[in-house]
Symmetry: C2
Subunit: 321 residues, 2 copies
């Protein structure tokens, strides 16, 4: 009998989301646990087991499942290990696929979380018929998944597609967890938008802004968005600047792999055209003519968590029964 379901798991810095998925991409049931409450990975897996195993039992037990697909920061598809993930508490090299197999008795595949989201988009989202595209997640950080010829680019060691860490302002803003200066993530993330806000507010003390009414703690990308929607000049400049940095970076990515589309995910995309317009403008302005007005710039139609769960689950459908 053909096995009916896959488990998809998306391990994020804060929250781990998981669900039971059909081959058609329906998420039948999903739940979540905190990621970083567990000092050691074994405790995390115990916690996950207690929530996930009952869901598996309700869907006919492990014999009804083809396997478990996981996305995680610095997840390596070649080795099934999470390696030196800066945003996770578990340090060094974590053989998580092996640990999961032992605990659940199901074949387990792992990949990078951003790559899982790109696979989800390709199988079930707005790039269903595309063979060349790039997904960029604009969340707390900036993640990316690159698809060329219908396959995720993982490179010779499994770590390709770290576009958030490419440098677009050499010598620019310090990115605290990596020590790099001027990387895309240091500007075009929720954290980056907040930093830009603080910079602009302190550099222009003479300019009035609704943003000045918020405490430093309240100053988030969401606050900036709300003020921009009320016509606040500084708030609008913040998105203009963020879009410029993002657009310049996207132009560079396009001249690398010439994708048909770039798909944007994540919290910052809630800003809609406030972000999209300057991004598109600076992207086009930095392209060679042969690339201009060709590349679609899209917002994902899947929500980010769904895309990652779906993409992770998709890793296992080609496992031989």
């Amino acid at each position: 009998m053909k096995k009916k379901y896959a488990v998809g798991i998306d391990i994020g810095g804060t929250t781990t989301k998981f669900g039971i998925v059909t081959e058609k991409g329906e998420i039948l049931v999903q739940d979540r646990i905190p990621t970083n409450q567990h000092e050691v990975v074994e405790e995390f897996i115990d916690d996950l087991y207690n929530k996930l195993m009952p869901m598996i039992e309700q869907h006919g037990g492990v014999e009804n499942f083809i396997g478990i697909g996981m996305g995680a920061p610095n997840g390596n598809i070649y080795t099934g290990t999470i390696e030196y993930a800066p945003n996770l508490k578990w340090k060094g090299i974590i053989p998580i696929a092996e640990l999961m197999e032992k605990n659940f008795g199901l074949p387990t595949k792992l990949t990078n979380d951003a790559n899982a989201a790109a696979v989800g988009e390709m199988m079930y989202g707005c790039t269903k018929n595309m063979k060349h595209f790039i997904t960029i997640t604009l969340g707390t950080g900036v993640g990316s998944g690159i698809v060329i010829d219908g396959k995720i680019v993982v490179g010779h060691d499994g770590f390709a597609g770290e576009l958030g860490h490419t440098v677009i302002r050499p010598g620019g803003r310090l990115h605290k967890t990596t020590g790099l200066h001027g990387s895309l993530e240091s500007y075009a993330s929720a954290t980056g938008v907040r930093e830009t806000a603080i910079e602009l507010l302190t550099e222009h003390p003479e300019k009035e802004s609704l943003l000045r009414d918020f405490s430093l703690n309240e100053l988030t990308s969401q606050t900036v968005y709300e003020c921009a929607m009320q016509g606040d000049d500084i708030a609008n400049s913040i998105f203009e600047f963020t879009g410029q940095i993002l657009g310049e970076s996207l132009a560079n990515f396009i001249m690398f792999s010439s994708p048909e589309a770039i798909v944007l995910f994540g919290g910052l995309t809630k800003a809609g055209n406030l972000l999209l317009n300057p991004t598109r403008q600076h992207m086009e302005a930095n392209l060679l003519p042969i690339f201009r007005n060709k590349v679609k710039l899209l917002f994902s139609e899947l929500n980010e968590a769904d895309a990652a769960i779906l993409g992770a689950s998709a890793l296992v459908w080609d496992i031989k029964e």
Copy 2:
């Protein structure tokens, strides 16, 4: 009878080189014609025919040839056309593969010149056993060929791999033929080295330099190299700066596709360690830790023209007889 030979043709901005190649990658005979003396492509093909056809006849005639492989600026592998090549006199879209087939009666395949060089390197050069690498040609301009999973990356429209035009100093030096500011090519090409020399000499009139003895016309990347080898400070700073720009760019490329090696070709590589040391230093300094001390930085073992002829010829070996 199995056909024995292929023709490889490398169309450059100034010179077109061509040769007769065996499947093992021996160039049996080669010659060259100027590229830009011909206002229309038909005259160029006539000139090429007059030189190349006798070589084909000497090797058993067209029936002994599997086909013609060509590399050209903006050569599109999908369509066999050269499209809007900024460095060629023939404007618009040139159906050169079709024209060659008509004239020579041999199947003809076309690709981008830098991609042809990368294929040559993969089949016959220092990346023979690698499936993930990037070649960068540091000549009058900066070309690139990207190999992922053993295949040249051409993207959805055939134009991928324009790494020389990625921007590494946003708002920086104007690149005259493209109008882009701060692209890699505007710094890390022979033209760029000359511009850096002029900038440094005029910005620091107080500093002594052997370079001041040369006229503007004599000030080439070769002159800069010779002065640097004699211990000239400004000449050394020029290579230091060029290596910094190149190294920063390479770091970005590595975080895109995680290659096993980057192979440098072209005139500027004659500078050897003068260029290689600062390039490596700035490349490593701009990488995430997971990529550090992993990626080989190599000089090609093939000369550039050979690599392009070999790579172009390699395009046709899988044509069915």
